[in-house]
Subunit: 329 residues, 4 copies
């Protein structure tokens, strides 16, 4: 287990360009922490993000993985994603979210009111408590920690703000990035330069207002590398499912990307001819939005692994990374 501190001044707001925070090797298990999307600056309902934040969505990293080269696939097994605070924050933010005028869906309306909500996080009880701002209503929601953002340095020499989801990962906001999930990302630059952050105590599917229950996280991740195997779009593997992630606008293109990737992936793994795989996914596939508010929208496509033989991707690296992460230290 390698412990890596991520002090505030090391936080990054783009994928690409930055020098590595640490150099890692395949087989390493790393424990570190992530700040919330406000960099920790929003702590009470009086802290309007547009006033107290200059930048949003910091990530911890980037990490250089020895031996990673373009055309390889990086495997990140997230063994632990655990709230580091007993509170989380959410907000409406001007010109952000699915049901308001934005930078791109530009309208003549003034922005919606900027408002902040503070949640209690009780990791023992497994509860996230919502407090209404205009009434005394509280609602207990299940704690369901996840990371909104994970990615590598983009292809083609690009550097992208961490808020942008695309083929390199980024702010996917797919709740299935829970503890126990393995993430696969295609490597675009030597060392891969992966980073992650944007912990959510929980979020709704689609994250309609654009902000989840944002909190700092303690994270343990095991690093794997599959040589000479490209991965076109981010993929997840859980105990039960394979997921393909697509990010684009309009939302149907995110859907198309995710379905296209899952169908071709299932076809390759199982030996099903392509249209036969198209048909099977049409009946057995699952789908949901990640977020529908970022510069790209995100959807996932998923299939149950035990439906048919062969759906153990990347030579079963997930099993090895799980074992590594579970070793006593």
């Amino acid at each position: 287990m390698i412990l890596i501190e991520a002090p505030e001044e090391s936080l990054r707001y783009t994928f690409g360009q930055h020098p590595p925070l640490a150099v890692l090797h395949p087989g390493d298990v790393v424990r570190t922490s992530t700040e919330d999307c406000f960099g920790g600056a929003v702590r009470s309902v009086e802290d309007l993000p547009s006033r107290v934040c200059d930048w949003f969505n910091p990530v911890t990293g980037p990490f250089f993985v020895e031996g990673a080269e373009p055309g390889d696939t990086l495997a990140l097994h997230f063994a632990e994603i655990n709230p580091a605070r007993d509170w989380g924050m959410s907000a409406t933010f001007p010109h952000f979210g699915a049901l308001t005028t934005t930078h791109a869906t530009a309208m003549l309306h003034p922005p919606l009111e900027e408002r902040v909500w503070r949640y209690d996080i009780d990791t023992t009880a497994g509860i996230v408590r919502y407090h209404a701002r205009r009434s005394a209503v509280t609602v207990d929601l299940p704690l369901d920690p996840m990371l909104g953002t994970v990615g590598v340095a983009p292809a083609a020499g690009e550097v992208r703000a961490t808020i942008v989801p695309d083929a390199h990962g980024g702010n996917l906001d797919v709740p299935e990035l829970r503890p126990g999930t393995t993430v696969y990302l295609g490597v675009n630059v030597p060392g891969a330069l992966f980073a992650f952050g944007d912990g959510h105590a929980r979020q709704g599917q689609g994250e309609v207002c654009g902000v989840a229950v944002e909190t700092a996280m303690n994270v343990t991740v095991a690093i794997g590398l599959i040589k000479d195997t490209p991965t076109p779009w981010p993929r997840f593997e859980t105990d039960k499912r394979l997921l393909s992630i697509g990010s684009a606008r309009p939302l149907e293109d995110a859907y198309r990307i995710s379905q296209h990737d899952l169908i071709t992936w299932v076809s390759n793994l199982s030996g099903l001819e392509l249209l036969d795989a198209y048909q099977l996914v049409s009946q057995a596939g699952q789908s949901a939005p990640g977020n529908v508010c970022d510069p790209n929208y995100t959807m996932h496509a998923a299939i149950i692994k035990n439906l048919l033989p062969g759906l153990t991707p990347y030579g079963g690296i997930r099993q090895r990374l799980r074992a590594l992460a579970a070793e006593p230290r």
Copy 2:
């Protein structure tokens, strides 16, 4: 229990315009049947739909509900949706589906191959069996019967093909329309003139190839009417959840409609102020696509009813309709 036969010549391919198949009253429980989306004409893998079908997606109905007037809400509690055959059919169809050139997403490619798959339906074992066409692979999937299409006559004097989902309902293809679901539809014309069909032994979320496991169904439905209460978009209620359905293009507009409807509905039912409801749904809401292949795309937004008090809509009519449907006959 009113038994209504639906012979082939009574099937309808539009919402609106047709004389009623029967006149019903609030409180009636009806048992009838629906044909599959091919009108039963596709029975083997040799039956290419483009050759054997003239029209697609017939519905049973329309039914005139005494007392229903514009501004009311029709409640349809589907107590039974049960496969009437031990086989179902699916297909790729030229210029239809999410991953192919279509009428609207017009491209210069020739259409994908038209191919038919025949599924075995075993209602006792609860299994739908897929057979690959280019290999000997079979896959057993859980039987999960549903109706793809339910709707009323549209507003503004329009008549819409049954394949079109919109504010009046139509081909929503939302798998949550299972046995036990209550559907709420705003009434646009005297008598509402509702109809339903397009049974699926199961379907994937998004129905990516555009065709589910299509089969005939036996259907039992209890009819309710909520006077002087408009419903802007189709809504579902199940034992656990409230769902709002949006249909539009691009897919983010279907998402927006469904989220907007759910948020305003939760706000109205619970008394939460609007932005407080926006925030709560952002963290607690669920979302998934219906189909992403029709003239409009469909998404649902959902919330768990027992999260907070008040989420018993329409005066609890669902409980009464369930009781009615459960009465011995």
Copy 3:
């Protein structure tokens, strides 16, 4: 010349379903009138459309054309489109327009202010005069009369509100439907049942607020019929250009439809192989939005006819209709 009166009670708000206003024959030249999109009810800036109008966008018709059958093409040569009043009206309308929350692009904003503008129309000077509402500014714009809406009864037994543009025509709002333009529409039902209306003294490209300078028009149109020749989407022919019209959402699908139709049309007329036509239109083609506010958005694709031989479509019927319309009476 056949004179047809179109009294208010004969105006129609859907394409499809209505009995014909008159029966016409190929070769007929008809003179009639159209009301504005408000049915003439908005006459001063105090007349808010949401208060004084029940329905929008009436059309004159439908007209039954003897001999027209599905699979034929109707040709309508608009020889005259002339303002019947010396004033026109425009407005912002709640939940309508490109830069505001709408029924489909649903947001949590309250609607923009509803406001009415009254324009002076001077047909002699060729001027439409804008008067600002919050200052004394006036602007003289060139008079450029056009019809926003033209269409036939839709296919598949559908009936569509006149505000909807689709393959059957409808509210295209393409300013190139000026005096002197020939419109081609595929026939879906016996008699075609065409209708038109929604005169604009002028409009901007895209009609961003959703409402043009709306006015009543006197219209002269010559009727032609091309047997056994289908037309998939509305097409226009002017002295200089061929135009293909696509209507869909998202806007890129309207673009795709219009480009796909123009490319295949040019390929068929000129004998250019398909990708060669794709290449030529890529360099020589013209494109602009019709409106970006209706249930479907509209774009046109156009090419200059004298670029290459063969671009005289439908056997040159436009020349014959022009001659007919120009005959002295």
Copy 4:
């Protein structure tokens, strides 16, 4: 006049990150050259771009402008854009273009055929000659030279491939960037770091196949700086018109951005209240697509300057830059 050579090894494929090719000052007039989008590697119809090109769309630059700071506006007056060769190339490229499956609009079709077209450019006659590949047809089109790509370093530390159009500029492919056009770009980093390239001998509106008549250009540009004046999206000024450029997906969002920017710009310059400006642009505005094939789609919104007083933006800097560029040397 400052002459700057741009040898092949100095060409850049991203906006952001690169050291300046030269340091310039407001008031400088620069003469340089640009390579075509293939870096000059496609010279005959046998040179398939996917085989002979590693990278696409090189730009000349970046140029550091002394005194430019975030919050300023850079003005670039393009006095000359002149083909440097008597030939230009175009192509269909796999997974690129509006009417084919792409990276984002992912479909199961194989890509369209990759094919190259070679054009003759005759600057004296003002003609670009198309040669069909599958027949002997040739077509003479008007020469209409333009630059497809112009931009500055993006905001937020991002680095974007030159093929991407966004708020910083990039591959706008708006044909109105002809000789005589002034471009305004908001400055995001000290020195602005502008660059340009992607000369087209001409292109159709929308550039449907994704590739114009690509050629090298000689370019003369005069540099201006407007301090403390932000510009949110690229804007153009010509002798007759003001243009606002929006780049996004779906295409309606590009439309919305461009219209929103033009309306607020006109409101600010003329003193018209916002909804009054919305109304005026709705009737007087012009709109057309740039390209509908890039990672973002582009549309422009335009208005005639002499419609009303005040439409001389940025203190009339365009006049001064025109005069500078016209000085004899």
